[in-house]
Each structure stands twice: as structure tokens, then as C-alpha cells.
Symmetry: C2
Subunit: 231 residues, 2 copies
Amino acid sequence: MKDKIKIVGFDADDTLWVNETYYRQTEDLFYELLTGFIDPESCGKKLLELEIKNIELYGFGAKSFVLSMIETAIEVSQGKVPAEIIQRIIDLGKEQILKPVILLDDVQQTLEELKHDYRLIVATKGDLLDQERKLNLSGLAAYFHHIEIMSDKKEKNYLDLLQHLDIKPQEFLMIGNSLKSDILPVLTIGGYAVHIPYHTTWIHELVEDENIDNPKFKTIEKVKDILGLLQ
Amino acid sequence: MKDKIKIVGFDADDTLWVNETYYRQTEDLFYELLTGFIDPESCGKKLLELEIKNIELYGFGAKSFVLSMIETAIEVSQGKVPAEIIQRIIDLGKEQILKPVILLDDVQQTLEELKHDYRLIVATKGDLLDQERKLNLSGLAAYFHHIEIMSDKKEKNYLDLLQHLDIKPQEFLMIGNSLKSDILPVLTIGGYAVHIPYHTTWIHELVEDENIDNPKFKTIEKVKDILGLLQ
């Protein structure tokens, strides 16, 4: 693997720093706001349904999440949710946007070691401003040669990225926590991919078959384990 | 001007295609929804105030706009706005996102002529997914060597862009409808800038002093007038 790779791409949320945990916390507070109308489990199902339905229109990220929570609140209350709860949902969203950026274990040291031998990039989806803010707060920006904030992470998006970076798929390694977004599309186009599972994954990012039989694929437990593969 | 310039950057909204007009239409429908609580003029003032306050957190684009409309509705109704009006605001936002992309006069022909002598790029702020969608719908994507969707358009953002493009400011010309976002920061860093006023400008994009005395600056009426300056 290590002989060919020129550029190593990192996913950001739940690969470099904590993210999904914050979403789950916000969701729990959201379900609480609506306990007068619906139980948490059914509320979560409706929210997920609307989030997925709205992805095409809204894309990923905190603002999309807030808009889907508001729509869920209106729907599950059959239009009876009071404005003060809607305002509380908006405030939950603002609080979520302003959460601190907490790096996962050994991220900085790993980037520090890798930067000598590879060009490092971030390839993340989500909201443009949110991801820029998190990257600035993370203190990691200087490690990266390029930051790509993508509207989605499908084969086509990766092909565009590699064309932009002027490298071949077999010179690219992607590292991330989502099999669906970080691993499978990269393997499909002929790149390398390393999966670092995070303890919490958004249902929409799960794939049915987690068995991947591909010599260009590895699973590791912690980000620093990448050093054993690449050095 | 034409001897030195290598890359010509185009703003997108209200430079390549209609945008602000749609926002105004949505705003008018929004004011109508709230006539039971507040007059349109006062409502518009409150909306603008909240939009500007929320920019730091939300950035630019349709989702930010919808979230600020919802917050405005709650505030001007003192928490009495019914959920069905909130839902209507969400629907207005979805309708706005799906508006057709209408090119301004002679945009395509102008790009067609310029592409032989310059590398053309789009440099736009706004929502990542919205701008990608509009660019795809516009049919113009193939004219552009690079698309930069920026979280803001200040000097720092342009310097980052030029570094990424590997050119000097004096090799860059920016064309756009906003003195604040497309012209002044580019002139400040030493680039060329051409202003094409659009009949409708968001108040937040207006600048107090519109007199710019800089040999690297020109104002034109229509996008095709750029050909007279560059050819």
C-alpha cells in the first residue's frame, strides 16, 4: 500500500473529531421537547424519515438537521406544537453549531508523522461554514494541503476530487468512519481505503453488508494504527 | 488590463443568473403570512436584523434564510405564530431552492468567447449544495476550470483562492454584482475587478461609498461588455 500512495484523505466528523455524539445529544433533547406529543422512539423514526427525504434538497449538516427537526415537530404534533418549542429547536441547533471541537485520540500526532511522507487532505461532507469553523477550531488546518468540502461522497464526487488533485485513484488513500461514504465509493473507483469505525454511526450511513473483500481495504481501531500500515 | 490577466472569476448569483429577485418574491410571501401580527416593512426590518445576526453562525444561502424567517415569525408574533405558518415558511424555502435557474442576458455567449483566452472560474458564496445544483442546472459548468464555493468573500478568502489557483492577484480579474463581496476585497489585495450592477441588491451587500477610484476597476452595464475590455 505504502509505495504507491501520494495523497491521504481524511474524513473529518467522527474521524478527526467528535460529531455524531453531539447529534445524538441534541436528538435526545429534541425528543424530550416533544414528549407531550410522541414517544422518543417514534419521534426518532419520523425525524430520520424526514432527514433522508430532505437530503436531496438540503444536503448534510446542522442547518438541514434543524429544519428537519422543526418539520418533524409540526408533523408529529399535527400542527399543535407551540412556537416556543420551535424556538427551542432553533436554539438547540445553534448550540450544536457552537459545540467545542474535540479531537479523537492521537489525531494530531498521527498527522504530524504522516505529513513528511504524504500530502494530506480533508475530504468531508456537511455544511461549508460548519466544517470550516470546525477545522479552524481543531488547530489541524496547517497539516492539510487541501480541504475539500463535498456536497456528497459518491464515486462521482471522488473522481472530481482526484481530477482536481491531479492524481490517479491508485495513488489515493481515504480514511474514515463511514463505509458508505468514505470506503465503498473509493474502492469502487480503484483507490485505497482504511476504515476506522466510530462507536456511533448515523443510521443513514450504515450499509447492509459490512464484509468487504478487497486487497486495497483495511480496518483499524485507532487513527494511529495507520502509521503501521503506511510507514 | 487584458495583457496580464490569466484567470477571470465570475460571481454566480445575480451575475450569471437571477437570484435576489427570488429572495424578494419569497420575502413578500413571508410578509403576507404574518400580516396578522406585523406590517411588511417592520417585518422586513426584523428579518434583516436576524439574518445579519445569524450570518456568523449560519452563513449565506437558502437554509439560513429559512431559519431566520422562522425566528422572525416567532419573534414578531411574540410566540403566537401557529405551526401551520411555520410549515408554510419551510415550504416557501423549499420552493425557493427549487426555482429554475434563469441566465442573465448573453452570459453563455460571453463565456464562450472568453474561454479561449482565459481560464474561467466561478467564485461564489452561499450554500454548497444550492450553488452546485444551480451550476448544474445552468448548463454552464463546462465553461469553468474551477468552482469555488466560499463561506465568505473577504480579502482572506480571495487570498486563499489565489494561492490555491497558484496565481498572483494582478493576474486575476473578478466580475460580480456586489461591490462589497466581489469588487472591494479583490481591489484591496491587488487584483482587477469589474462591477455589473444588478437591479436588486440585498441591503447587507450595499456599501456606503460607491465611488471607487482605482485604475484596476471598471463598471459595465451588461456581462457582454466585458468582451470590449478583454479582447
